[in-house]
């Protein structure tokens, strides 16, 4: 026996200013099955929720429709309220009469009122056929895996291991530390990179809760959040590690100089990238010698840094800004003048971007102390003239062209995702953007989560960033994982696909169509299964099933058609 309650929210004047809320409630009460209908100014408030709870209790409501703002706002709120007084939360539906009605028909109150009632009627039609559902419970394997042993990966692994969770760390090369190994110093304090990196590496190596795989790669991952199985290949050996959460921290490479045709395309030995310059600095720091150039060991006197090399170039190379180049360029000019007294650095720039702490003051101070000439203009060409390199630059601020003779040219090359990111993306089903960087779930609010649940992102693999931000992001992923591990079980919305096994012919079309790998054929029982933990309720399998055996829980075709019928019925009443 249906006992439906309808609760219409005014949302202040957002709804009530356009929709005649009293009229709608009057009409709603006339509808078959509706035993309670009321309106209130702010249904989502505590008193508003109390109205719903009381009505459920006192009138024995077994279905609820809340006509209010978008379900994205308060569906959870109202479902929790219902659940707290014993009504299954999935028997509560939201009728959006704000975004989809009052806000778009502000000039036609009659029409808005009529439409609000229609929307409510359509949700009543749906909720009638809703089943009471239980949230899906998924057990959690409290082990984590971190892919990539650079500073981001090391930080995430240590944080998780220190929190007491066994963590598998997989590194592709023979060395931990990633690109930071190649740095001489870090800005803004000029600490030796190895002095801050090596203790972290040592800590990871000796940590009893870190299982380290060196020179290894994850070849595939099956399973789902809380229950992954990762197959790790080390040379000829294979190991399967079961884990509950994964951090992708595969880092970056520098865009190759061979792509810069007008700068010599890699054929000029004294045109190098930022990491190569760091290595020249390291040699100088270790030997006590001045910094010498690669071709003939000449002590570098004049050097030109070209910022934005390959970055901010939508036509030919990368459209984005690589974020760290302005800062390490400044650092490198300072270090050059310290190691080579009398050295004359030049920097070609478009803008100076100093968005990290202390870096604006740092860059300014470096300019003042080194006498580096910053000229605002991109370089058209770098070529060799005898022993020297010639740089064709411009200073847009004075509209002059410059021809600079240099011993060395350092290209601040664009930061791009590590080679092999396509593979990684496939293995972890973690989508990448147009530039190959791993895509976060929400750019503002969920910046460390990847598309599949249980996979997190840290470091330059997600977007160019410096060490500080890489570490911060890594710690954030550890925190998210610990939140997941804090629960005994993971609760997931049960609004997933379902199979009517009588109708299923096991044709298997649903299996490849599922973007989440949530469908498989049970050949013995001759029907298709849904892995409820993986299913995201997208409906692709419903669309492709030729036998109408596949549906979505609480969103069956019958329910959808029921709603459509409401919309296409002739309307008569409710005009003023």
């Amino acid at each position: 026996m249906e006992r439906i309650g309808v609760f219409l929210c005014w949302c202040g004047s957002n709804i009530a200013g356009t929709v005649d809320v009293h009229r709608v409630v009057e009409e709603a009460l006339k509808l078959p099955g509706v035993v309670h209908a009321q309106n209130y100014m702010y249904m989502c408030s505590d008193p508003g929720q109390d109205l719903i709870k009381n009505a459920i209790r006192e009138k024995g409501l077994n279905r609820v429709v809340v006509a209010s703002c978008s379900p994205r706002m308060h569906e959870r709120t109202f479902r929790k309220a219902a659940s707290s007084v014993g009504l299954n939360p999935y028997l509560v539906e939201i009728a959006n009469v704000r975004e989809q009605c009052s806000w778009v028909h502000m000039n036609d109150k009659d029409e808005a009122t009529r439409k609000a009632l229609t929307i409510i009627r359509s949700m009543i039609a749906k909720v009638r056929r809703n089943a009471a559902l239980e949230a899906i419970r998924v057990p959690v394997n409290r082990r984590a895996m971190v892919v990539g042993g650079g500073i981001a990966g090391l930080s995430a692994a240590l944080e998780l291991a220190d929190a007491g969770f066994e963590t598998v760390l997989v590194e592709r090369t023979a060395r931990l530390g990633g690109k930071m190994n190649r740095l001489a110093t870090t800005f803004p304090y000029h600490e030796r990179a190895e002095d801050i990196l090596n203790p972290r590496i040592e800590a990871v190596k000796i940590h009893p809760l870190v299982r380290l795989y060196m020179e290894s790669e994850v070849k595939d991952v099956t399973g789902y959040v809380g229950n992954f199985e990762a197959r790790i290949v080390t040379g000829e050996t294979e190991t399967v590690e079961p884990v509950g959460a994964i951090v992708v921290a595969t880092g970056y490479d520098l865009y190759p100089i061979s792509r810069m045709a007008e700068y010599g395309a890699g054929t000029l030995p004294d045109v190098i990238d930022g990491l190569e310059f760091e290595e020249l600095l390291k040699v100088s720091l270790e030997t006590g010698e001045p910094v010498r150039r690669p071709s003939d060991g000449k002590v570098i006197k004049s050097a030109v840094w070209i910022q934005c090399s390959g970055s901010r170039d939508p036509e030919h190379h990368k459209p984005y800004c690589s974020r760290v180049c302005c800062l390490y360029t400044s650092k490198q000019t300072k270090l050059l003048t310290e190691r080579n007294p009398g050295a004359r650095p030049f920097v070609s720039f478009m803008d100076i971007r100093t968005d990290c702490k202390l870096t604006e003051e740092y860059c300014q101070k470096n300019i003042e102390e080194t006498g580096t000439v910053y000229f605002r203009g991109r370089v058209s060409k770098v070529y060799r003239d005898g022993e020297k390199l010639i740089v064709w630059g411009a200073d847009t601020l004075t509209s002059q062209t410059l021809e600079i003779e240099a011993d060395l040219v350092v290209l601040a090359m664009a930061v791009e995702p590590s080679a092999g990111f396509e593979e990684v993306s496939k293995v972890f089903r973690s989508s990448v953007d147009n530039n190959g960087f791993f895509q976060e779930s929400h750019i503002k609010l969920r910046p460390v989560e990847s598309s599949p649940m249980g996979v997190y992102l840290a470091g330059a693999a997600q977007y160019p960033k410096d060490i500080t931000d890489s570490v911060s992001q890594a710690l954030a992923t550890a925190s998210k994982i610990q939140t997941m591990f804090a629960a005994d079980e993971l609760m997931q919305d049960p609004l997933v696909a379902r199979v009517d096994t009588d109708l299923c012919s096991s044709c298997g079309l649903c299996v490849p169509i599922c973007p989440y790998g949530a469908r498989e054929l049970d050949r013995r029982a001759l029907f298709s299964r849904v892995n409820e933990a993986l299913c995201q309720g997208c409906g692709a399998c419903v669309a492709v099933c030729p036998n109408k055996a596949c549906g979505l829980k609480n969103d069956s075709p019958a329910q959808v058609f029921g709603q459509i019928e409401v919309f296409v019925e002739k309307q008569g009443e409710c005009a003023a």
Binding site: E262, A265, T267
Partner: protein
Amino acid sequence: MELSFYPGCTAHSTAWEFTKSTQAVMDSLGHTLTEIEDWNCCGGASARALNRAVGLGLPGRNLLIAQKAGRPLLIPCAGCYNNLCRARHAYEAGGEDAASLAETTGGGWEGAIDVWSFVDFFEEPGVLDTIRAKVVKPLAGLKIVAYYGCQLLRPPSVLHSRNWENPTALEKACEAAGATALDWSYKVDCCGADMGISHGGHAAEICTKLGEKAEEAGADAIVVSCGLCQANLDMRQTKTRLPVIYVTEVLGAAFGIPGAESWWKKHLIDPSGLFKS
């Protein structure tokens, strides 16, 4: 190969020796060159400077004539090559330019034939081998720098150029003839183009620098594949006197083609000394 040939307005005048050496060399290599019928001027840089539709229509007409002939089209003159590629690009890109081409030329470009400069020709598979096979007087001891200028290579998206910052096709052709191609950094810089006529002094500044850099690199001569580059460099080096020779003249000399002496006579800076055996 059977090829169509677009001579351009300077073919029998200021670029006389380019045309003659081209015909002789292609003949030696066993290719037939058939001048396309009743061609018109490609417009140079002037037509498109004064009127966009005329600037496209003039080369467009030639493309259609060549398409009818149905053979790959070889265009020695770099400027003409550039203009015909622009017309091709406009036909293929659609939009207003393609519409104006339909009005001026009747349209109908189907992309049925290839359009080649000498850079394209030398990069065709096997061509360099055929050149090596025809060499009877290897030009050992001849040190050259190759100079491409602009029109052979840019804009890359319009010409479909493969290597526009450091091309090597001309060097490879000269090396196939036994000469030594020296490396230098100025091979794709502009020669001054039409300023050779309207502002000779400006062109002289540019060509003087090119001449000096070629000499610094150790070259005996500058090898070109463009009539205007040849004219500018031949006329406007003020500090050096390096002969400026067409790549086809180099090949012709290496092939031992009789009558090559008649080509040298046409130059302002006499290159004959380079080829006396």
